[in-house]
Assembly symmetry: C2
Homo-oligomer: 109 residues x 2
Amino acid sequence: MKQPTICPKFEKAITLLSQRWNALVIYQLLPGPQRFSEIQSAIGISGKVLSDRLKELEHQDLIKREVIPETPVVIEYSLTEKGKSLESVLKTIETWSQEWMKPDDEKSH
Amino acid sequence: MKQPTICPKFEKAITLLSQRWNALVIYQLLPGPQRFSEIQSAIGISGKVLSDRLKELEHQDLIKREVIPETPVVIEYSLTEKGKSLESVLKTIETWSQEWMKPDDEKSH
DNA sequence: GTTATCACTTACTTTATGTAACCTAGTTTA
DNA sequence: TAAACTAGGTTACATAAAGTAAGTGATAAC
């Protein structure tokens, strides 16, 4: 029902980046490792969905989860090489947004 | 409930690109104008959601809708300058995907 | 021993997306 | 002339994804 016009790798990348929160989570981790609650409050995602996303992104080898056996135990999320490599994409989006987006002060359309 | 750590323009761009189908619709229009049913069958989106997306993207001045008074009437969607400027973003994603994604032959995780 | 925090999970609600049938206008087919 | 077809949608209904809020288990502070 859908001819394979689009490159599967590209489509997979688009699916990844089009999934809500994924790009923001990666973006948030660019400066360095962060903990669950830091990510959560920084981007305003619900705990439930963040939990899902972190698992999925870990599964896709974009981030890694590290349990640091301090006392109390600390859990840190950080980008893998693959995750870090998305910086180029995010920077391009950032550049584009500076050029073309107006901040929506006008909440009422 | 969310400190304004993230640039609003960037966040708006991310919201745009994170909305399902938006990137693919723009991508599909990069080579030139297309009609409703062409876009629909090319990317496998439902008519309902495509209708929504086209309106929204038009409202955001990324695409334009043109009624061509042939017989029968033809409706063409094409990118505006702002829409075309997203090519840089999409190309970066494409490049990234070629380097880092493996096509998911392994549908069973 | 009550209260608090972190990193979640679970149950439930709301929103987004998908499916399929229908609509309007023009067009061809019989 | 009527039935059927096409393009570009819209509407009603079903399912999937996301949000909300409360709960859990481990540890620690008061």
